[in-house]
Symmetry: C2
Subunit: 153 residues, 2 copies
């Protein structure tokens, strides 16, 4: 079972994300990848809409943390707090966004904070790559996690 696929019902449940037709591709070696078809995300110039590039990268970072928190036994709500986006080149293909924890971030330490204080924050690095591997957009975002208290907790 592909653990990334557990995101699909959540993605499909958000109307603007359903409209972008975003779905999970895979989670491998700490990198989550999401895909969205160009046809649903095209702008007035025939290439990927900037809002969709930014949106699918934000969702990849959000999804990375949703999965990591769940796998750590700490299911959480995940909120984006701020982000920096760079649009480097037009994209005339489907959007494939990847997300990973930024190199200076320590997931075990973040999970400990989340377990102890019910809140934590984490910074993710995301990118959209064309099929030839060229990065066409990047996003770095800080997210806040809020652990969901169990009914018995």
């Amino acid at each position: 079972m592909n653990p990334a696929a557990t995101l699909d019902p959540l993605l499909a449940g958000m109307p603007p994300v359903a409209a972008m037709q975003v779905h999970a591709l895979d989670l491998s070696e700490g990198v989550l990848r999401l895909r969205a078809p160009l046809a649903a995300n095209v702008n007035d110039k025939g290439c990927a809409f900037g809002g969709s590039l930014s949106g699918v990268m934000t969702l990849a970072g959000w999804g990375w943390l949703m999965l990591a928190a769940q796998q750590a036994g700490l299911p959480s709500e995940v909120y984006v707090a701020d982000s920096q986006v760079r649009y480097l080149a037009p994209l005339y293909e489907d959007l494939v966004a990847e997300a990973r924890l930024r190199g200076d971030q320590d997931w075990p330490a973040i999970a400990r904070t989340l377990a102890e204080r019910r809140r934590a924050s984490a910074t993710l690095q995301c990118a959209v790559r064309a099929a030839d591997g060229v990065v066409v957009a990047t996003l770095e975002a800080r997210f806040a996690l809020k652990r969901i208290e169990s009914a018995t907790g």
Copy 2:
């Protein structure tokens, strides 16, 4: 005639923007406002999806420049180059985004550059405000303008 309304066919022509149901409200005293209904832009937590907040603010900045270039007799393609976004509070209402030129930017100078060199860049400040006036998200973005050459030019 509300000049902002000339944006509506462009907005409706982009599938992801049509899905967000974004339309122009008004352009007044240098501020362009766009609106999108919450129902089409809601996330898993019942408030406005971050990707939609960022998207509608980016579109407000893009629209500001599309209108300004057209009104200057310099119709252009407008591309977002980079942006910084801050998500300050959840929004449980329709999304109303406003865009204005950043205070240090000089539109007549930008238009002269666009006329002479066919390319220019400009930085816009955008925000989403709740009905009570509280700012719930901000976006600052740099855009590139590329003047459309006339067939006879």
